[in-house]
């Protein structure tokens, strides 16, 4: 629930993991299934004497994102060194854009707690390199030792910083879902890869200092951590304990946050311009990147409504994930676009969600086949749902499932036989109907359905029963 005194701002670290190489060296980004420290080179290990060289493609991707978030792209950008000691940082500084972020002043639209569209302002978008990954032997506060994996070190990261415009954990989650959606539309990001997105959340209650909950990698985790923080900060306030500015760690297993350091222990990062890199005039790159910018969720949604004549709610649901949108367009071109919208948005997505599966686990060809069987009246709606479920659970193809499960709609003759039998057997209901109780017909239709073991179309059965009653 939105509470007026809750103030949340996010810093989202997005790995540009669709790049082929890291931000400052030629190392491959495909380390996700690789053993530790196998995707490294002298540059990303920061060996003495090595120098960074900017991956131009990474900068193009970053501009793409900044444009999609309606940021103003800066004319010139520069990298800085952020100096601090940590074992996952082999140069003891992180190369990051600091005073010269790539993009300033953007926004994302989300659906707010009140159901209305809400604008979340983006303060800045800047690039930086990812540090390595520490693997603790045990929990962070109790580990006897830690190991470092530098495979991740030097991956291109984009930091997206919001204004404190979010008012609830749920809004924070909506923002993150929408951001992920946009990033996947831009083809710069695969949210399914480990560590693809890491979020620092700043949260405070009006009039209090803020806590920063660092480094959560799931949207659900952010929502939970923020909910915990609201409760914690509220109860502290009730007990008269003032919140101090601090950094906290979210313990996913225990579902709680623990303090790491307070403001007094804050670092002085001694930022200064990275002397091994030269300023980039990115203003000149913008027209090219703009020309290559793909259609974004909000405009796709509008186009679906206009081109396919579908409801806006359906369009919104279909465009909330690029893969679903592509699936829909594929199917819509080969069947009734409106029918496809209903079946994909209302049925298929629900079934996928229930199974925690993605759209990739369903074939658009199968969807086209199911819709055409429906349109031809070969299966009932109930049958179609059953086909979808079966395909998801056990595989196969639609025709085969219909055959195997006997889902083909009963032949008209069989229905007619059932109708005649039902009318004969349900004398009382027939009498009731004839004496003006129209609802009595439902009993007879129910009997027809029973006799056809549900394969009759209920509407069709209703019509036939009515016909039979009016005839005699």
């Amino acid at each position: 629930m939105a509470e007026k005194d809750v103030i949340i701002g996010l810093e989202v670290h997005v790995q540009l993991n669709k790049l082929n190489s890291k931000l400052f060296c030629g190392c491959s980004t495909g380390y996700h299934d690789a053993p530790p420290n196998t995707h490294t080179c002298p540059v990303c290990l920061g060996l003495p004497g090595t120098l960074p060289v900017v991956n131009r493609r990474a900068v193009e991707y970053a501009i793409r994102v900044a444009l999609a978030l309606s940021c103003e792209i800066q004319g010139e950008t520069l990298f800085y060194r952020k100096n601090y000691y940590y074992p996952d940082l082999p140069k003891a500084f992180q190369i990051t854009q600091y005073d010269f972020p790539l993009g300033l002043g953007g926004a994302i639209l989300i659906r707010g707690e009140d159901g209305e569209e809400k604008k979340i302002r983006i303060t800045r978008v800047h690039m930086e390199e990812d540090p390595g990954r520490l693997v603790h032997a045990g929990t962070i506060d109790r580990a006897k030792y830690s190991m470092v994996d530098y495979n991740r070190c030097g991956m291109a990261l984009l930091e997206v910083v919001t204004e404190p415009d979010l008012r609830s954990p749920k809004e924070a989650r909506s923002f993150l879902d929408k951001l992920r959606n946009i990033l996947e539309y831009l083809d710069v990001f695969d949210g399914n890869l480990e560590g693809a997105m890491r979020i620092d959340s700043n949260i405070s209650l009006a009039g209090g200092e803020r806590a920063e909950v660092k480094n959560i990698s799931s949207h659900k985790g952010v929502e939970k951590a923020l909910a915990y923080e609201i409760t914690r900060q509220r109860s502290a306030r009730r007990r008269g304990v003032a919140q101090v500015q601090e950094t906290r760690h979210y313990d996913e297993l225990r579902g709680i946050t623990v303090t790491i350091r307070t403001k007094e222990e804050a670092h002085d990062y001694r930022y200064f311009p990275e002397p091994d890199l030269v300023p980039m005039r990115i203003a000149d790159w913008v027209p090219k990147v703009k020309a290559e910018l793909p259609e974004l969720p909000d405009s796709k949604r509008g186009r679906f409504v206009a081109d396919y004549g579908i409801a806006d709610d359906h369009a919104k649901s279909l465009t909330s994930e690029i893969r679903v949108a592509n699936f829909y367009e594929d199917v819509a071109k080969r069947s009734s676009p409106r029918l496809a919208a209903v079946w994909i948005a209302d049925v298929l997505k629900g079934e996928l969600n229930y199974r925690d599966a993605t759209i990739d686990s369903f074939s658009p060809d199968h969807m086209v086949e199911i819709l055409s069987m429906l349109e031809r009246g070969e299966i009932t709606e109930k049958g179609a749902v059953e086909v979808i479920r079966t395909l998801l659970d056990t595989g196969g193809d639609p025709a085969g499932v219909v055959e195997a499960k006997g889902l083909a709609k009963a032949e008209d003759d069989a229905v007619k036989v059932a109708v005649r039998a039902a009318v004969e057997e349900c004398a009382q209901a027939v009498a009731d109907y004839r004496s003006g109780n129209e609802k009595a017909i439902n009993f007879i239709v129910g009997m027809v359905m029973k006799k056809t073991r549900g394969r009759a179309d209920p509407g069709e059965a209703n019509r036939l029963v009515k016909e039979a009653l009016d005839e005699t």
């Binding site: 900017v54 000691y85 001694r270 002397p275 091994d276 030269v278």
Partner: protein, 478 residues
């Protein structure tokens, strides 16, 4: 007997054995008292020499032995910047300059002694102890590339690479009576040079003659995609070497003479200027008014960058490691406390201070502004219609005694007064021998326009051809 590169290559081409040549060199190095080398790569050098003898290859430096400053990464050969903290560190890759030397057939002799992490003017801050000046073994060879300079001067290597952040090639070249070039910033790839102050330093040659320096530059200079600050440039230096100085305008910056300059140095440099005039150059006085701020700006920038560059040495991945590990902070603090010498610690602390919140604007940013002024000084003096080159002393005095100044860092910093402005401006400068004071060599500094090494070489060569200082042989040659 001291041999120039061209003669050496002629001998090799006409059947002299590279192996015998290399063996003789190692023999000489091992007998030497100079302490010019930290590490010898004898086995691999002799192996290469034998290969060369079996089937000689071609290349600009085919079969030529070369000494490498201990801050330039060599694959498979320890590179420790004469620091304890990097002891045992063997790079898995070659610096770009090393790759290029190997491509042109050169043979690496070993790694030369230097001030720890290139922080010094005397090679006394090395963890391996000072290198001795072959002209007077009680004196320093200059620094920080003192090992490279002493080796070349004493015939323990026919040529060497050094690096120059604030004078570290030119100072020891001057003190040891040889030729040393600090190239234009961006001309030689820094990839593989262990950084001291990235925005200031360049790798360059230390040789016995201007021609040798030009030859080595043809090999090592040129754009490298691994160094974002490197620039495409024409590097055919050998072709214009004999262009002479006829019609050349030599600027003499008035701020580089007078107070603090040893009279014998001043006289030798004025004699050199007269010699250039005799050879057809014209001379005019110029002014570089921001010179007095150069030292302060230089040390702030260099130390700031160094404090960040040297932060990576924590013993975790390579280099010094001892005892049982404790927690992360204790472990890396202990390693750094034991691994760095006092001068390095001093510069890291000062640099850290200068970059700290609240001081950054007062020190680092201000130093950058001064740097711009100094660069403008040079651009003005060397503008079209002005001087083509500037001529100054390299060092204000000849080599001093070992131990004489090491306890007084400020007086050591002051010695760099004529070399650091060149690094701040990014222009090229060469030091060539121009005389002696009580048997100690004196260096003449010739400064050129950005990427105009060609004119610098031509002027230096004309002067060298007309004098005999570069042929002099020091006493301490085994």
């Amino acid at each position: 007997m001291i041999v120039m590169l061209r003669m050496l290559m002629e001998e090799l081409a006409t059947g002299a054995s590279a192996e015998e040549m290399a063996s003789a060199l190692f023999e000489k190095i091992k007998k030497s008292r100079l302490n010019a080398y930290n590490i010898l790569s004898e086995d691999s050098a002799l192996e290469r020499a034998r290969e060369f003898d079996r089937s000689p290859w071609t290349g600009l430096m085919a079969g030529v032995p070369i000494a490498i400053k201990n801050s330039i990464s060599t694959r498979g050969i320890e590179t420790n910047c004469s620091s304890r903290i990097l002891s045992g560190y063997i790079p898995p890759y070659d610096a770009t300059v090393i790759e290029r030397l190997k491509e042109e057939g050169a043979i690496i002799v070993g790694k030369t002694n230097m001030d720890e992490f290139a922080m010094g003017t005397s090679t006394e801050t090395s963890r391996f102890g000072p290198t001795r000046n072959p002209w007077d073994t009680d004196r320093v060879p200059g620094g920080s590339s003192g090992g490279s300079a002493a080796a070349v001067a004493a015939g323990e290597a026919p040529c060497a690479l050094g690096s120059d952040t604030g004078g570290s090639i030119r100072c020891p070249a001057s003190f040891c009576g040889i030729v040393g070039l600090k190239p234009t910033y961006g001309l030689v790839s820094r990839y593989g040079l262990v950084s001291y102050a990235n925005s200031l330093e360049q790798i360059g040659p230390l040789t016995l003659s201007v021609e040798d320096a030009a030859l080595v530059m043809e090999v090592i200079a040129g754009h490298d995609s691994r160094d974002s600050t490197s620039v495409k440039s024409d590097v055919a230096y050998l072709s214009g070497l004999d262009d002479g100085v006829e019609g050349l305008v030599c600027g003499v910056p008035k701020e580089y003479f007078g107070e603090g300059v040893d009279p014998s140095v001043e006289k030798a440099v004025w004699d050199a200027i007269s010699k250039l005039e005799e050879l057809g150059a014209s001379v005019k006085e110029v002014s570089l008014p921001s010179t007095k701020y150069a030292l302060a700006a230089y040390y702030i920038i260099a130390m700031s960058e160094a404090s960040s560059n040297l932060a990576r040495f924590d013993g975790l991945r390579y280099g010094l490691r001892f005892g049982a590990d404790q927690d992360w902070h204790t472990t890396f603090s202990d390693i750094r406390a034991a691994g760095f010498g006092p001068e390095v610690k001093r510069r890291i602390l000062l640099g850290t201070y200068a970059l700290s919140a609240g001081y950054y604007g007062r020190y680092y940013l201000k130093a950058l502004k001064v740097r711009t002024l100094i660069k403008q000084d040079f651009e003005r003096a060397l503008a079209a219609g002005g001087a083509d080159v500037l001529v100054t002393p390299t060092m204000p005095f000849p080599a001093f005694k070992i131990g004489e100044r090491i306890e007084d860092p400020l007086s050591l910093y002051m010695a760099d007064v004529f070399t650091v402005p060149i690094n701040l401006a990014g222009v090229p400068a060469i030091s060539v021998p121009c005389g002696f004071a009580d048997g100690l060599p004196i260096g003449l500094q010739i400064i050129g326009r950005h990427f105009d090494e060609k004119t610098v070489f031509a002027a230096a060569k004309a002067y060298e051809d007309a004098t005999s200082y570069h042929g002099a042989v020091p006493r301490e040659v085994v």
